[in-house]
């Protein structure tokens, strides 16, 4: 692990210190890392996951490589000393992971300390001899020291959709998310193109659930048959009742693609209607690349996403106080920025932290701000100072001590730091 002196945290507009320590580079030097995720276990251990797109990822074992050839790595910080351990490779076959910023592998922990990872893979369809993009899962039951051989959760369908989705994939099950609930269930969800029509840009949403800590998974289930933006990532979290809150984008007539949150029961996987988080309608027959970020505390659900429909496009923030039945639109989080995107949200039960990347003056940097549970800003917008180095794609998580942990990409490296819980 490398302690870097490149970065430091300061306030924009005031000089109050907020960081506990200098940022740490998590990935080994010399590797090209991207698309980080972070999760905190019940015992306080933290896991940071990233995609390694180093050239040696294209080794044998990566069969019909299509457009990405990456590995997934994890580093664990024990609660006792907080020090991150060495990088552990998650996938067995080198370079088999279709991992990138727009289709991030995910990591979560169940209460007994098992780490669960989901990721998309370039599988070779045995009949069509073409690439099928599938969702895989693996777990570590030894505290992140090793991972089981990955298992495919999405089925290989019979049809060849490569002519419809134009990407050579006979089918695609990617852009997914994962969540672990307090009841121990593990939910893996993905966007699926198996029902996509040639003249449509509408995908489906599928899920598989494990109720035995990842030892086995249910057969995949079609949660939403149509109307899901096919290349907009999903984002799921769970509340203390083990319900899932799922952020996604709908496809409505006229190519309006609102960011929505859907509540699903963990026990039955029955779902409520997806609810728009508000903001101006965005007409876009395309791929907004970042997911609808969601966090939850009690009945409060917080959602943030880039909305290109606003008069000045940028990250918007909305709050629900009734478990995602309705959302109050709070507006842009960084109206002064030239452009802002890629929000991540976390809540420690007392405050809400939103982090995002934006261009204000100069290179793209990571910014963050605290909010009350009612969605009111607390303090100024703060910036993770990286000088002339661009920084992007932050992800935040609540630590067991109530502080927040943030991870971001800076060039080809992944950094992390601790932010006060306020």
């Amino acid at each position: 692990m490398i302690r870097t002196g490149i970065c430091c945290l300061v306030l924009v507009g005031s000089m109050a210190a907020s960081a506990f320590a200098a940022p740490l580079q998590v990935n080994p030097t010399g590797h090209k890392a991207a698309a980080a995720d972070i999760s905190v276990g019940a015992n306080g251990d933290m896991a940071i996951l990233w995609v390694d797109r180093s050239p040696n990822a294209s080794a044998p074992g990566n069969h019909d490589r299509h457009i990405a050839a990456t590995d997934v790595y994890v580093s664990i910080a024990r609660a006792q000393d907080g020090a991150f351990g060495g990088a552990v490779k998650v996938n067995a076959a080198a370079g088999a992971v279709w991992g990138q910023q727009v289709s991030r592998p995910r990591i979560v922990a169940t209460p007994n300390g098992t780490w669960h990872v989901s990721y998309a893979v370039n599988d070779l369809h045995p009949t069509h001899q073409k690439t099928a993009l599938t969702t895989h899962y693996t777990r570590s039951t030894d505290g992140g020291r090793s991972f089981e051989v990955g298992r495919r959760l999405s089925s290989l369908t019979d049809q060849d959709m490569s002519g419809t989705i134009h990407g050579g994939f006979v089918s695609a099950a990617a852009f997914g998310t994962m969540a672990a609930a307090p009841d121990g269930s593990v939910h893996v969800l993905w966007i699926d193109t198996r029902h996509m029509q040639p003249d449509s840009d509408s995908g489906a949403m599928y899920a598989a659930v494990s109720r035995d800590d990842g030892q086995s998974f249910s057969v995949e289930r079609n949660l939403v048959n149509t109307g899901v933006c096919p290349c907009c990532q999903l984002m799921a979290v769970t509340n203390d009742r083990s319900e899932l809150l799922l952020g996604s984008r709908k496809v409505l007539p006229g190519s309006i693609r609102p960011a929505t949150v859907m509540r699903l029961s963990s026990s039955s996987n029955t779902s409520a209607e997806s609810v728009s988080i508000g903001g101006a309608p965005w007409q876009i027959a395309g791929c907004p690349l970042k997911p609808t970020a969601v966090a939850v505390t009690g009945d409060h659900v917080f959602a943030a996403v880039h909305n290109g429909g606003e008069e000045k496009p940028g990250v918007i923030f909305s709050v629900s106080k009734d478990n995602a039945a309705h959302f109050d639109f709070k507006g842009l989080v960084h109206p002064e920025a030239t452009v802002s995107d890629a929000p991540s949200v976390a809540s420690n039960g007392k405050t809400v932290l939103i982090a995002w990347h934006a261009r204000a003056n100069g290179p793209r940097h990571v910014f963050y701000r605290y909010y009350s549970l009612d969605g009111e800003p607390q303090g100024e917008i703060r910036e993770i100072l990286t000088g002339d180095n661009a920084a992007q794609s932050p992800v935040v998580a609540t630590r067991s001590d109530g502080a927040y942990q943030i991870v971001w990409q800076q060039g080809d490296n992944i950094f992390t730091d601790t932010l006060a819980g306020q």
């Binding site: 299509h66 990456t70 990138q100 290349c231 190519s255 027959a285 395309g286 880039h306 992007q392």
Partner: protein, 164 residues
């Protein structure tokens, strides 16, 4: 000149615009992208930001290629910019381009920042693909088009620029 050669030349003239292979996708940095755009001054340029995983992008690329072909005599040029994660020698983008869109002249980003090439044209680009920019003969951005459009919509958008 033999009759066979003449027939072959005539056939080639018809087939080539549909099937000719453009230069392999090259990974570039912003300064090179600026130079490339400058070299097209005097042309109307369609700059299309796309990605290999973006279904709406892939659906409109054939229309953009057809539009370029239609408007070639009016000096219309099409340039693609793939925003996929960079790989060594842009191998993944090139593998895809050569297989599915061999006539598509496209570049790929070389750096870690997805928006670094778009910044050359548009400081407010919000990382949405497809995004298509229409540049006039002086190299100025005249129009930003986001989301998949039809051939007719692209024709219409281009109309006002090519007439100038």
């Amino acid at each position: 000149m033999s009759a066979k050669f003449v027939i072959a030349a005539i056939l080639l003239a018809f087939i080539a615009p549909l099937s000719w292979s453009a230069t392999p996708a090259k990974a570039i940095q912003p300064p090179e992208f600026k130079q490339i755009l400058n070299s097209y001054r005097g042309n109307v340029v369609i700059v299309n930001f796309w990605a290999t995983w973006c279904a709406p992008c892939l659906k409109e690329i054939p229309d953009l290629l057809r539009l370029q072909q239609e408007k070639a005599s009016e000096g219309v040029k099409l340039i693609g910019v793939a925003v996929d994660e960079p790989t060594e020698n842009s191998a993944e983008v090139e593998r895809f381009r050569s297989r599915y869109f061999p006539a598509f002249l496209t570049y790929a980003r070389a750096g870690a920042e997805m928006d670094e090439l778009a910044q050359v044209i548009d400081p407010t680009w919000n990382e949405v693909v497809p995004t298509t920019y229409l540049l006039d003969r002086q190299g100025r951005v005249v129009k930003r088009i986001q989301g998949k459009k039809t051939l007719e919509e692209f024709r219409s958008a281009l109309e006002t620029i090519t007439r100038k």
